[in-house]
């Protein structure tokens, strides 16, 4: 038997003390980690349950929001402050998984969840650079419908599957990290790494560190924002493409804009080039098209995922056109 020790951390200090050893993993809701253990993709020897850590959802001093890493996905989606101030986040979470999974899943676990790449998840039958560095990537010539068209590398084209993180990226979320050396904060958009030569290293989090909270600054987008997820069935499927958009308009020109994509990249993809191109512009089809091309010019399209470029463009255009219209 692979002996596994299990302990439940009562505090952040406690968790830091227990975690960090070889083979130690933090356990949130377990909806991802336990599956990976069953499949043999991950083989920890020590589980540190972090669900007793702070799970509050509260207004922050700056008027923004602070969400404890142990907060359940469903609790975040249902919270009045989230629904009124960050409706896009509530919608992104509710578009994910199933009610049962969302009831278990924690915010920390969601940010840290691994890719759904079929080859990553098949220990016995497939080669995967993320699982076994240097072994090869079976997805590139295989089934890559769910894989990246931006930000991938020759080593790995896996996507980060989270919906929640796409909204967090669009909302300028900050990841609060505690470690042996103290606390630090990293913008969510800088938290996940692109694969490059080392697809096995997915985030900037050190194994000795833990995610303790996510904060969101006050959002100007509550009135005009949307999250749209495009998938292979109406529910309970990962995004082929998802788009989070927040807008404010001055007259009929874009004042502030935030755009992030899911399902197309190894990380939640904040589309800075689109934002730059559209800020101050009117939302004409040609302006949207030009902005989109700026972001997706160097997309790498494979037989299985090439359709996503057009799909992302159409989805974004439709959302911008709708959101840019007269405010509801």
């Amino acid at each position: 038997m692979n002996p596994i020790s299990y302990s439940r951390a009562a505090s952040v200090a406690d968790a830091l003390h227990m975690a960090g050893g070889q083979g130690a993993r933090l356990l949130g809701g377990g909806t991802n980690l336990v599956d990976l253990m069953r499949k043999g993709v991950d083989t920890p020897s020590q589980l540190v349950d972090v669900t007793a850590l702070p799970d509050g959802i509260d207004r922050a001093e700056d008027g923004g929001l602070i969400i404890g890493a142990a907060a359940r996905n469903s609790a975040v989606a249902a919270h009045p402050l989230v629904r009124s101030g960050y409706p896009m986040l509530a919608r992104a979470i509710l578009a994910a998984a199933s009610a049962q999974v969302r009831n278990m899943a924690t915010v920390g676990g969601n940010v840290m969840q691994r890719t759904r790449c079929l080859y990553f998840n098949d220990v016995a039958g497939a080669r995967c650079n993320k699982r076994v560095p240097g072994s090869g990537c079976d997805a590139i010539g295989g089934f890559n419908r769910y894989h990246a068209i931006l930000g991938g590398s020759d080593a790995c084209i896996a996507t980060h599957p989270s919906d929640m993180c796409v909204a967090l990226a669009a909302l300028d979320g900050q990841v609060h990290i505690a470690g042996p050396a103290g606390e630090r904060t990293v913008p969510l958009v800088a938290f996940h790494r692109l694969p490059g030569e080392r697809p096995d290293i997915e985030t900037v989090l050190d194994p000795t560190e833990i995610v303790v909270a996510i904060t969101l600054p006050p959002s100007p987008f509550a009135a005009r924002s949307a999250y749209r997820k495009v998938r292979d069935r109406a529910s309970y499927a990962f995004a082929l493409v998802s788009v989070a958009v927040g807008l404010t308009m001055r007259e009929d020109r874009v004042d502030a804009i935030s755009v992030a994509f899911g399902g197309i990249a190894p990380k939640p993809w904040r589309a800075a080039r689109i934002e730059d191109a559209l800020r101050g512009a009117s939302l004409s089809p040609s302006a949207i098209e030009k902005a989109f091309e700026a972001e997706f010019a160097d997309a790498t399209l494979l037989p299985g995922n090439g359709f996503k470029r057009g799909l992302a463009k159409r989805t974004l255009s439709a959302m911008l056109t709708e959101l840019g219209g007269p405010a509801q």
Partner: protein, 772 residues
């Protein structure tokens, strides 16, 4: 099937063709068609309360003393040999009782492949199981561990080290087409059938559609995993299984393990979904063999992934359908041919051209199926094997023809629906497909359809309506036996080995027996799911209800004779012969003078008998050979396609069925709806991702293999003609598989109506609907 078998069946057909209809069973219709009381009434499933309260014990839940648990090792390579096998760590792992590989597995023969002539031939594969070092397909069982707990077995499996040398494998459908085989027959039908010269007629036709349609492989995903508990008691073998072939399993296991049939007992009172996937596969055989080796009961439950690895699903297909029509829209040629996978060690031919032979008239026909040989887990039957995907191709093609000619798709069908079997010329026993279309169109509101594709919009959504026909053959299997016991208190027990897979087998047969025996519903008990009971055939081909009903008819006749004899001279029915009485009001009554009535209770009491038992077999199903007997359907679909994303959302689905007598509206509606939901999966979401480079299935989980979720399933309306079939028991035909049939095309045709895009390869995923 061989050419010889083909010839034999052909000549039986010919002989039966000469017999006058009146001589055949069903020559005079089953009297219960006119005289039904419980039959046709809404009744809840008898097994419902047991399942809701958790009292129903499925095969993985049966309490067994001293139980051990097994887990399997599956080959990750597709073809090759085991070169090195190291089980030391597994042998030494905690709780491990035995590690089994080809080295120590007892020598065993192979199963006889499923065949139509021997009902105990039930092998989905005739490959040896753990007999040698050869690997034939990816996922094949190469070792097993038996341990004290499931967790210990699962863990020990991970410690077994196997090195393989890989050999070149056939895994590419496109390449393997070059060496495809052309079988002489498909099930019991001749394979290559020609009527006239279809290619020539086609080329001369005023209107031609000629296209290739593709359907992907599918996997079985019954909610209950395959599971078996096997134990030896002395020389006897007891198997708790989840199977749609209880008695045939016992016979097959007896043969394989060199036992007498009486030494084997298979119990399967409840099956959590079958759909063709719950047959005999490697896991049962491994469990039985290792249970003998360890001298203890063994339970073997496949993981969900395990189901994908060793239980075959539906083959992929590539089908050409060509239709020629004259200027008036009458078909001049119908050609349906294609390729599907059937490895030489497999048995399921996926009869996608059989349904196409039974719906439309045409001046000429050609049907031909070819089998592609791949190194894969052998494909098997999956709800409406053949018809489910065959109708996708043909009914899409009919829609294409209607569009090309500017004719309403229903009018096009009405003009061509056959009045007799189009190929054999046999009369239909009963056939109201046209009425099903008319009634369905009316209820559905077909007249709201706008013929010009892409005409209806709501916001970003384009709305479309489509329809399709379905046809599924009636079957009543030979070899159905039942036992009826009349008890002294006037109640009755009906017993046979039939299978309850959740469709209401017991419920409906209790309704039947109540009417047949003239007893109230509460007075009937139905025992099933036990191979020690009189043998009934497998549940497959939508045949179980008719097969068991036929046997109950025979047993009731015998019972009538026995009870008349027992009644003696003092009885009010004395002197009457079997043909002059009927069973009614808890006893026997004269047909001519119903006041002459003697109750079962008093007959038994007078004879000082506790009970009366008869066993009988159903008559030979000759009606199938004399008449063309088909359940048919008209399926209607309304859906939306997003102009932005290509996503399809089905808003309404209606099935209008012509299946003879509907025995129980509640269970029938569930069968129809369930089939139609499976049809939605076939149309829109389901696809086994078979990696042609490796020969491995990559989406072996319910997260990655997309069956429809609740949100994908709209309100489904079902209706039926309820016209009894004068040639079948109770006037009923099968309803289990017609539901899925036609749905793929109805959806595809609605998508075309919505968008003007014709998708000819399933599933219709959104990328296929985006502009290029």
């Amino acid at each position: 099937m061989t050419k010889i078998q083909n010839a034999v069946i052909g000549s039986v057909r010919t002989v039966i063709g000469w017999v006058p209809a009146g001589w055949l069973p069903g020559g005079s219709p089953d009297p219960l068609i006119e005289r039904r009381a419980a039959i046709g009434r809404q009744a809840s499933r008898l097994d419902g309360p047991l399942k809701v309260t958790g009292e129903a014990r499925f095969a993985a839940e049966v309490a067994v003393d001293n139980l051990s648990y097994a887990a399997l090792v599956h080959s990750p390579i597709t073809r090759g040999r085991i070169m090195r096998l190291d089980t030391d760590a597994a042998d030494a792992a905690p709780g491990v009782i035995l590690v089994v590989t080809h080295r120590n597995m007892p020598r065993l023969g192979t199963l006889a492949l499923i065949g139509m002539s021997d009902m105990s031939a039930i092998g989905n594969s005739d490959l040896p199981i753990l007999q040698d070092a050869q690997v034939h397909y990816n996922g094949q069982v190469v070792a097993a561990v038996i341990a004290e707990t499931q967790e210990q077995a699962d863990h020990a499996v991970s410690l077994i080290m196997i090195d393989y040398t890989a050999e070149p494998a056939k895994t590419l459908f496109e390449e393997a087409k070059a060496t495809a085989r052309t079988p002489a027959s498909v099930l019991i039908e001749k394979n290559h059938v020609t009527v006239g010269n279809a290619e020539r007629e086609l080329s001369r036709s005023a209107h031609i559609v000629d296209n290739v349609y593709r359907t992907p492989p599918h996997n079985h995903n019954a909610i209950e995993l395959h599971t078996v508990t096997a134990m030896w008691e002395g020389d006897g073998l007891l198997v708790h299984d989840t199977t749609q072939m209880v008695a045939p399993s016992a016979t097959a296991l007896a043969k394989l393990f060199g036992l007498k049939r009486e030494q084997v007992r298979v119990l399967s009172p409840f099956v959590g979904g079958g759909f063709g996937g719950k047959g005999m596969w490697d896991h049962q055989i491994v469990a039985v063999a290792v249970a003998r080796m360890v001298g203890r009961p063994v339970r073997l439950t496949l993981s969900r992934e395990g189901v994908y690895r060793i239980i075959g699903g539906r083959t992929p297909s590539e089908q050409r359908v060509a239709i020629g029509a004259d200027a008036a829209g009458r078909f001049t040629a119908l050609i349906h041919s294609g390729y599907s996978v059937m490895p030489p060690y497999g048995a399921c031919p996926e009869q996608y051209t059989l349904g196409s032979r039974a719906i439309y008239d045409a001046k000429s026909f050609e049907f031909l199926q070819r089998h592609v040989d791949l190194d894969i887990v052998p494909n098997t039957f999956m709800r409406a094997p053949g018809e489910a995907i065959g109708t996708f191709a043909v009914e899409s093609a009919v829609d294409e023809m209607a569009h090309a000619m500017g004719v309403d798709p229903i009018d096009m069908r009405m003009a061509n629906i056959a009045e007799r079997h189009p190929v054999s010329g046999a009369p239909f026993s009963q056939h109201a497909l046209k009425q099903a279309f008319t009634d369905g169109a009316e209820r559905f509101g077909w007249n709201r359809r706008v013929a010009e594709p892409g005409s209806r919009r709501e916001g970003e959504w384009r709305i479309g309506i489509g329809c399709a026909a379905g046809s599924f053959p009636y079957a009543r299997m030979p070899g159905a036996n039942v036992r009826i016991t009349l008890h002294g208190d006037g109640s009755a027990t009906i017993a046979c080995s039939a299978q309850e897979m959740g469709m209401g087998t017991a419920t409906v047969q209790v309704q039947h027996a109540a009417d047949r025996l003239g007893l109230p519903l509460e007075a009937i008990r139905f025992e099933l799911g036990d191979s020690d009971l009189p043998a009934s055939p497998m549940a497959g081909g939508s045949s179980q209800t008719a097969s068991v009903a036929g046997a109950i008819i025979a047993a009731a006749e015998k019972l009538t004779g026995e009870m008349l004899r027992l009644a003696g001279n003092a009885s009010p029915v004395a002197g009457l012969r079997a043909g002059e009485v009927r069973l009614t009001d808890g006893g026997i009554a004269s047909i001519a003078d119903p006041s002459r009535h003697d109750s079962f209770e008093s007959i038994l009491a007078r004879a000082a008998r506790d009970d009366m038992t008869v066993t009988a077999a159903g008559s030979m199903p000759l009606e199938m050979f004399k008449f063309a007997m088909h359940s048919t359907s008209a399926v209607f679909c309304e859906l939306r396609v997003s102009d932005v994303t290509g996503e399809v959302r089905v808003d309404r689905l209606l099935g209008s069925f012509d299946c003879g007598t509907i025995l129980n509206p509640k269970t029938a509606a569930s069968q129809f709806r369930g089939g139609m939901i499976m049809g939605l999966g076939l149309a829109l979401t389901e696809e086994t991702l078979f990696d042609g480079r490796s020969g491995r299935i990559m989406n072996a989980s319910l997260a990655d293999y997309h069956i429809p979720t609740h949100l994908d399933v709209p309100q489904i309306d079902v209706m039926w003609t309820d016209i009894p079939d004068p040639r079948s028991p109770l006037g009923a035909r099968g309803i289990g598989e017609i539901g899925i049939t036609g749905v793929g095309a109805a959806v595809a045709n609605a998508v075309f109506n919505a968008t003007g895009k014709r998708v000819r390869d399933l599933p219709i995923t959104l990328d296929k609907l985006l502009p290029d």
